[in-house]
Symmetry: C2
Subunit: 214 residues, 2 copies
């Protein structure tokens, strides 16, 4: 962990950055053994701290898990927003970039992804957690709205529905085929290609045909 190195400057009786270090430790453990294989005690041990120390920062194990999930959603939202880039260079391509970012996050951050979506946390466990999750979805929502706006009003579908479809397809492909852990299922093509083709067909079905998008 870079935390412990960084922390060494000011390390002594007071750790100086224990909260962050515990979160990093939790991520390591989740990545290694799944969400079940992370314990308060072992996180403390990894952080080089007594087993009582974490209680200064988190009420209990679930509180730490929720914090990990919240941070995950914040990073996720940031990545998606960066990929969307306010629709640049062009909304259709920007949406495809966003889809790729979705899969990339699932692949490179399996621990965050698991904590966010598969740790059995109720989405409204914590208002901060819910807000962070909404922020991530808002990017997909914004992208869908921009694309829908291209259609003439009479044939324009509800953009909320479109965003849910896009989210669901990206999420399905991510959890089944792009995840970065042992539960990934084999696929005879890159998951990115599968998602790109899926979005292409779907948007075509909305009337946002191929050439029209260039």
């Amino acid at each position: 962990m870079s935390w412990s190195r960084q922390g060494r400057k000011r390390r002594g009786y007071h750790h100086g950055n224990l909260r962050e270090t515990l979160i990093a430790a939790a991520l390591d453990l989740i990545a290694e053994k799944g969400p079940a294989g992370f314990t308060f005690a072992e996180a403390a041990r990894l952080a080089g701290v007594s087993p009582a120390a974490p209680y200064r920062h988190f009420r209990d194990r679930d509180a730490l898990m929720a914090d990990v999930a919240r941070r995950g959603f914040e990073r996720f939202a940031a990545e998606l927003a960066r990929a969307w880039d306010e629709g640049r260079p062009e909304p259709f391509e920007a949406l495809q970039n966003t889809g790729r970012a979705y899969l990339a996050f699932a692949r490179t951050e399996p621990a965050y992804f698991t904590a966010m979506f598969e740790a059995q946390l109720p989405p409204d466990l914590d208002p901060e957690l819910a807000r962070a999750a909404d922020q991530a979805f808002a990017v997909v929502r914004q992208a869908s709205e921009t694309l829908c706006a291209r259609l003439p009003k009479p044939t324009r579908p509800p953009s909320l529905m479109v965003s849910l479809h896009v989210w669901a397809m990206a999420h399905g492909i991510a959890t089944l085929f792009a995840r970065g852990d042992a539960a990934r299922r084999a696929l005879p093509m890159p998951p990115e290609d599968l998602l790109e083709a899926g979005l292409l067909v779907y948007l075509g079905g909305l009337g946002l045909g191929g050439d029209q998008n260039r």
Copy 2:
């Protein structure tokens, strides 16, 4: 559990149906507390048997979990096949029925669903497990093939790809919005409607337009 009642007939020193009873107990525990909250010891307790007894039937906790997942896939495959009903009364409608069956399974069998998809089990942990999972996917594959066959050869998409898209969308909606446990996300419409609309748009994008399907 119906098992313990049924078993009572022949209950005595020998349980008579311990294997089944342990699986039922595991499902109860998973449903109640998530995949992490199921222990060998507690399953034995629920089955009314000494903590050493399960070892006569399962090598360890993971072996039991894999068996639960395998059975889950078998039931899942059966439900999907029943909904598809070999394309009756008509392939398009039969596919929609299959999608509904997918969501219904996620909702009514959260324990199986979790064991199958979110217990971090490698899909190829056990050949039986892999076979059962393939069987479930094969139904979606078959449905997609039937629908693709309606398109003229030149414009016909690869049916494997289509089946993966359908699976991904159903799975995304199921895990995000239709799951039967606390991690379900709120949705301003029935997930069934969302999936139906999504498939409709997607198939439209393939050229399988609305009226053509009736």
